[in-house]
Amino acid sequence: MAYKPQYYPGSTSVAENRRKHMSNNVEKLREVSDEDLTAMLGHRAPGSDYPSTHPPLAEMGEPDCPVRQMVTPTPGTAAGDRVRYVQWADSMYNAPSVPYWRSYHAAINHRGVDPGTLSGRQVVEARERDMEACAKEQVETEMTCPGLAGLRGATVHGHSCRLQEDGVMFDMLDRRRLEGDVIIQDKDQVGVPLDRKVNMGKPMSEAEAAKRTTFYRIDNVAFRDDKEVIEWMQRVWELRTLYGYQPHD
């Protein structure tokens, strides 16, 4: 029987969503073109070539190394791309993704990525085209609600603020806002104005966000509602406390 990874315990909607994010079994909700994504990331001009930091690996004459022979380089590595980042801020008010789950999604489903998890933001560093592939997946799927999450390279303030009256997470640099019933982004990650307005689509309604979120919240699905999760958390902490965490025990 083929091995099927079991990603997260629990029977609540939050546990189910966490499993979806980790296994990349996520629903695609919107379309963002490659050019729009490149513009929002702000690392290079849309449509331009990927700048490189070294020649393509095929031209470099790599040393005879069994590990290099076993591991196929990612497209970005093979082409010699620069390392660039994508950074997210997700609102505590039922945003679809928790910073840790963006990291799990990136680390489990993408190669050559370096996810960094902080309390209010999450960053993925990788070769530029690998990072863009990861970012595109996250921006187009149910992992992101344009009203409750945002691409924020600098000034990430907002994830723990109350939502605005219009239901959008506060953004100090006004990178994106509700125009009509859709979210429009017209600045890149660091707040530099773009020459275009990127339509990110409709934000999720409160009910939909509560359904798709991976945040445990006392006013939605509380952490202690899920007995199986509690049981496993206690087991993990007990084993760590007693003699160091050994996942196979």
Partner: protein, 171 residues
């Protein structure tokens, strides 16, 4: 607003904490509503800043043009609202003004809010205030400030001219 010094009763302070951050139109309407309540001595708004320029990162210095950073009008006094209003603290001349204030806010604010009494801004000068304003003279060691209502309304290091708005009493 009533004259602070004529208040012979015991002032109380309350905080209005909306469930969501207020957009300028709502904030303007709410502040005007609060100001019309009899017995309001002073009020303070607090919230996340709406900067005019990007202050860090590769985009430092880039202007931020946003329609929400605009002039609002409270009882005929115009000032620039440069924050997203998150809480409003009000000092009332006595407890009898508390319920009228709650009713006025309930009518004006379209979203749920917390309404709690407490001690939020000081009435007496602190050591920092003395360091900033000094004594009146060698003989009179009270704080050298004309209007003690200013105490506790803004950061002692900030320029009060940019942050405090005086609304004249009708009486």
């Amino acid at each position: 607003m009533v004259d602070y010094y004529s208040a012979s009763k015991k002032p109380i302070q309350v905080e209005i904490f909306p469930q969501k951050l207020l957009m300028p139109d709502t904030a303007e309407e709410l502040l005007n509503t609060i100001d019309k309540v009899t017995g309001v001595l002073r009020m303070m708004i607090q919230g996340s800043s709406l900067p005019m320029r990007v202050s860090c990162g590769p985009g430092t210095g880039t202007p931020i043009e946003r329609s929400e950073r605009r002039i609002i009008n409270v009882s005929g006094q115009a000032f620039e609202l440069n924050i997203r209003v998150g809480r409003i603290r009000v000092e009332l001349e006595d407890r009898s003004a508390k319920e009228p204030l709650r009713e006025a806010v309930e009518k004006s604010l379209p979203i749920p809010f917390e309404f709690k009494e407490g001690f939020f801004f000081r009435k007496k000068a602190s050591l920092t205030d003395y360091a900033k304003y000094g004594f009146k003279s060698r003989e009179d060691q009270s704080i050298n400030i004309e209007d003690t209502r200013l105490l506790g309304l803004s950061d002692p290091k900030a320029n009060p001219k940019d942050r405090i708005c005086m609304i004249e009493s009708n009486e």
